[in-house]
């Protein structure tokens, strides 16, 4: 989230699209309803009428996978009716920037941008660039009338997205589209704010990243970024998934969103040189120019502090990606399936149910030599070898199961969607032999290090030179109890030697006050620069429980701690005009007093933009402004509608380019694994399907399927469908049906409901069905996961699987 949960109550319009917050983030509705109490309008856009839609002022259906078309129509509506916030765009976005005249758009190139190479399925982005002056600073037209400026190109691009065209793609009635556009666009004036609450309904598509980009563009046009009640707000699916992302859950980043080193970056100097963004604009803060300090401090936290600059502080010990290597989820399981991976820790996860194309995942597990399942309960992954269609005698994978403590059984922090890192305490000791994750990791580290010491082996230093000071070491050198506070302090970082900064002496061993103090000479450590300021000499900021709200807009700055540096609303310098005065006088986030900023921690403490010597408001971007034109994307600097890989229509109504041209195809229609086939516009699988969660179960259900009270409410697999389709197929409410795709099948109880409606698209009727993925064969009579049906295909930027739009067939069970 750019903003945070409580801030939702400050919104004038709330769009819930690509998420089902009432069902999957029930607590969020406390704040949604508070906003409604104050007169806010709630819009629900979803293929299915959900518990969220039940509370909405306006519900609009759309066919799964058509969000860019839906939102593209809104961009057209906003621009053509001049409902955008001009002054905001001029100050805080690249809307006035002049684009390379050679840049061409899908309207000219049949669905492609300039620079596409069909062989590599990649773009040469040379033309996706700005015209620059002699110093390299982008040229601007403050009037935003130049036909080559970003705003005019945006207008031209989305002029193709008329309400009629959009409706014909999305299946949304035209009047519903216009109503949503009108209500949402009403926040383009100063003092009004709209927010978007989205989740996997947007991300899990082949165009997932561009779905979110489209909304970010809308928010920038309307001046809704940085303000209270605005922002682009991802509702994270687990209580601590934000924290795990911050601390490098993903393959391409180290803690604090530092890029993972590549094989072609052989030393720390090269890493810094290649990965540090540059700018020639003196008015741009370009905060990532501090990368050398953050990576060096990270290395100092990770590795033995006796390593020196000559050793690159241990840079050689970091794992490196091969150039161009993608090690995301789909790729890992693809390699596992092909026998390239020997061992696997399934730690706190259940890929046999959560992984897209779960049959492929389950088969992949049979190719392993060993697997360690670390979980609260036995599950479909831990017991994959005795699951459906498995022959235990033919499987050589050795499986270990480590029982682990539940969140209530351990102390530590969780970081919520709003970036608040909150300390929690142990409520009960772990049951039986289960242990805290940190104790298991500590034991593993110790034993692996012992093995290296006693038996030798390749590349021992990566383990043996880890700094591992998380508690008192016994005579055997082993830490017998992990002090979780030591971990939190290491994440914050220490001064490793006496250091004087701005006249103040910081002693060796003191905690670093904030990331502005981190150094690139090896004198400081920080396990995650973004969390530097979270555990200081003043104490554990995460454990704070102060309830004051001096701002009055619900920032609660003394409650826990929020990254970065306790800033509650990101990009908050965009909430003010050039003189530092808030657009919204009633709900100001920050304001300039004449001598300093008041309110939230400002996004950079520089003076207002009208004053000399200041820096622009989007400090993390080299150009210093928000990107309406975003050249970093794989498939284009503006979003364009492409159909899901599996879709029900022959042709993309907008162009001859049917699917996202830059996705990695695991099966090209001729070559590939049988497991990876897809069926687009194929009469064998005529119905659009999507997957989702339910309030009563959590993720794959490993925890919730073991709670009888929850099983009582949602006992088994179901598939929701509209009455017309049910009638056509002779299915009655409550019947058992078989749902099948090109990759598998599941049995499910039919819920026949008008909450799904047929879509009118391209003159035909298209039916959509939906299924949850929270069940698994390990729980008797509950059914199995919807992910047995979902495809092996991912987003072009992130490779997140497209589980929200694919094709199935349904039949009544005999």
């Amino acid at each position: 989230m750019t903003n945070h949960w409580i801030d939702i109550r400050n919104s004038d319009v709330i769009l819930i699209m690509g998420s089902n917050a009432a069902e999957n983030h029930p607590i969020s509705f406390k704040y949604v309803l508070e906003a409604k109490d104050k007169g806010a309008k709630l819009l629900s856009v979803d293929p299915r009428f959900t518990r969220t839609s039940a509370k909405a002022d306006l519900y609009a259906p759309l066919r799964s996978g058509t969000d860019i078309a839906f939102l593209g129509g809104m961009i057209k509506y906003i621009i053509e009716n001049e409902l955008y916030h001009s002054e905001y765009m001029q100050l805080h976005t690249n809307a006035p920037f002049l684009v390379n005249p050679d840049f061409k758009m899908p309207g000219d190139l049949d669905g492609l941008f300039s620079g596409y190479d069909a062989d590599t399925r990649k773009y040469d982005k040379a033309t996706w660039s700005f015209q620059r002056d002699a110093d390299g600073v982008p040229l601007r037209d403050p009037s935003m009338q130049n036909p080559n400026c970003v705003l005019q190109l945006l207008k031209k691009h989305f002029s193709r997205y008329s309400v009629a065209v959009v409706s014909d793609i999305t299946g949304t009635p035209e009047e519903k589209l216009t109503e949503v556009y009108k209500i949402y666009a009403s926040t383009g004036v100063a003092g009004k704010a709209a927010t978007i609450m989205y989740a996997m309904g947007w991300t899990q598509h082949t165009v997932g990243t561009q779905n979110i980009r489209t909304m970010a563009i809308i928010q920038l046009l309307l001046g809704n970024i940085g303000v209270a009640g605005g922002g682009v707000n991802a509702l994270r699916g687990e209580s601590n998934v934000q924290g795990s992302t911050d601390h490098c859950l993903l393959f391409h980043i180290l803690p604090g969103y530092l890029p993972t080193p590549k094989a072609s970056w052989p030393d720390l100097a090269t890493y810094i040189e290649k990965s540090t963004p540059k700018t020639n604009d003196p008015d741009s803060a370009n905060w990532w120019a501090n990368r050398s300090k953050y990576i060096t401090s990270l290395l100092r936290a990770h590795f033995d502090s006796n390593l020196t600059a000559a050793d690159g502080f241990g840079y050689d010990l970091l794992p490196k990606l091969d150039d161009g290597q993608n090690a995301s989820w789909l790729m890992l399981f693809d390699r596992m399936f092909k026998g390239d991976i020997k061992g696997f820790f399934a730690w706190g996860q259940n890929p046999a149910c959560s992984g897209s194309n779960a049959n492929k995942v389950r088969k992949a597990l049979t190719k392993l030599d060993w697997m360690v399942a670390v979980n609260l309960f036995d599950n479909e992954t831990a017991s994959f070898w005795k699951g459906p269609n498995m022959d235990p005698a033919a499987i050589d994978t050795e499986v270990f199961f480590l029982p682990i403590a539940a969140s209530f059984e351990k102390e530590g922090s969780v970081t919520n969607s709003g970036r608040w890192a909150q300390w929690r305490y142990q409520a009960a000791p772990p049951l039986g032999n289960s242990r805290h994750d940190s104790e298991v990791m500590n034991e593993l580290q110790f034993r692996v290090a012992q093995l290296y010491k006693n038996e030798g082996g390749a590349f021992p230093d990566a383990i043996n030179k880890l700094s591992w000071d998380y508690g008192f070491k016994g005579v055997d050198g082993k830490i017998h109890h992990v002090d979780i506070h030591a971990v939190a302090k290491e994440i914050n970082g220490y001064f490793l030697q006496d250091t004087e900064i701005k006249g103040t002496l910081y002693k060796k061993g003191e905690l670093v006050p904030s990331f502005a103090f981190l150094q690139d000479d090896g004198s400081t450590s920080s396990g995650n620069w973004l969390y530097c300021n979270s555990y200081t000499e003043k104490g554990n900021m995460l454990a704070r429980r102060g309830q004051s709200d001096p701002s009055g807009v619900g920032l609660y700055p003394e409650w826990s701690w929020c990254w970065p540096v306790n800033r509650r609303i990101l990009y908050n310098r965009a909430s003010v005009d050039a003189n530092g005065q808030p657009w919204d006088k009633e709900q100001p986030v920050i304001w300039w007093t004449g001598s300093g900023w008041k309110g939230d921690v400002p996004d950079g403490g520089w003076k207002p933009l009208s004053q000399p010597g200041t820096k622009k408001s989007f400090i993390m971007l080299p150009d210093g402004v928000a990107s309406i034109f975003g050249a970093g994307m794989a498939e284009g600097p503006f979003p364009e509608h492409y159909e899901p890989l599996e879709c029900p229509i022959e042709k993309n109504p907008l162009s001859g380019t049917k699917n996202n041209p830059t996705i990695k195809l695991f099966h090209d229609g001729k070559d590939g694994l049988d497991e990876d086939v897809f069926y687009s516009c194929d009469q064998r699988y005529p119905y659009v399907a999507t997957t989702y969660r339910v309030t009563e179960h959590w993720q794959t259900g490993v925890m919730t399927r073991n709670i009888p009270w929850l099983m009582e409410m949602q006992p088994s697999m179901f598939v929701e469908m509209n009455p017309e389709l049910a009638k056509e197929k002779g299915i009655k409410n409550g019947d058992w049906v078989k749902v099948s795709s090109g990759r598998g099948e599941v049995d499910a109880v039919a819920i026949v409901t008008k909450r799904f409606r047929p879509f009118k698209v391209q003159g035909t009727t298209i039916h959509q069905v939906g299924l949850p993925w929270c069940y698994g064969w390990h729980t008797p009579n509950s059914g199995d996961s919807a992910n047995l049906l979902t495809p092996t295909i991912g987003d072009a930027n992130t490779m997140i699987p497209e589980t929200k739009a694919f094709q199935v067939n349904i039949e009544k069970r005999g």
């Binding site: 509705f29 309803l33 039940a54 509370k55 409410m713 949602q714 179901f718 039919a750």
Partner: protein, 255 residues
């Protein structure tokens, strides 16, 4: 002490069913084996192990589709049919806060309360004793909120002084169900649609037969009841316990 009541604001309910689970947890009620019948709603009705539940109602009016959620439970009527009809004094009773409690020790398993309730609430458990929502009497007596109210994340379920909750509810201008009915329901609905859409009776009444029972037959009946008990004791002493069934049967005959 003023009367304490539930106010249930259906406009805020997202059917997360925290109330269902929190009730089971506090009251130590086991889960029942359930099947999906083609609906999210489960179990399909209140049971001896389910004191409150959410009803999921799909309706369509003038082309507008609605999905309504209603917290179904004992409504703790001001004039409670179950108490009126109960022949065993104290088996169903009114607490100091105005809630309707039950005492299984005193329940004689006559099932009258089931017929006396206009809202089909009381259930009989495995021991054939009455059970239903008792408003978490134990928590309320200790100054706490009922478990369902404590767990509700959206403010759908409120519990407190009747005057205050009613005054707040009236400010919304929306229909309040049960303000006057049966001397004021102890659990009122602040509705977001008309009562019929929620399948709520427009004028809930205690069945007429119950008035007859209460005002005419019960006084005689209680005489008759104790007479029957005396006779049974005699019977027990002379013949044996297996004939006890007859007592209930005779008692039902008296209705």
């Amino acid at each position: 002490m003023g009367r304490k009541v539930f106010m249930i604001d259906t406009s805020r309910c997202t059917a997360c069913r925290s109330c269902q689970v929190a009730c089971k947890q506090w009251n130590k009620l086991p889960a029942e084996a359930a099947v999906n019948r083609g609906s999210y709603e489960n179990p399909p009705q209140l049971t001896a192990q389910l004191y409150n539940k959410i009803e999921f109602i799909e309706t369509e009016e003038n082309g507008e589709f609605k999905w309504l959620f209603l917290n179904k439970r004992c409504l703790h009527c001001g004039e409670a049919g179950c108490i009126k009809v109960c022949p065993s004094v104290g088996a169903l009773y009114r607490t100091a806060e105005g809630l309707v409690g039950f005492d299984q020790e005193k329940c004689i398993s006559c099932n009258y309360c089931v017929n006396g309730c206009p809202f089909d609430v009381p259930r009989y458990d495995a021991n054939n004793k009455v059970t239903k929502c008792h408003g978490c009497i134990d928590r309320v007596a200790a100054g706490l909120q009922p478990a369902c109210v404590k767990a509700c994340p959206t403010g759908t379920l409120l519990f407190g002084e009747q005057d205050k909750l009613l005054a707040d509810a009236k400010k919304t201008g929306r229909p309040i169900y049960g303000e006057k009915a049966l001397s004021g329901l102890g659990a009122m609905y602040l509705l977001s649609d008309k009562p019929q859409s929620y399948n709520l009776a427009e004028n809930p009444k205690i069945p007429t037969s119950i008035f007859l029972w209460k005002d005419v037959i019960k006084p005689l009946g209680i005489l008759g009841f104790w007479g029957a008990v005396g006779a049974t004791l005699l019977h027990y002493v002379t013949i044996g316990p297996e004939q006890l069934e007859d007592v209930e049967y005779q008692d039902k005959e008296g209705e």
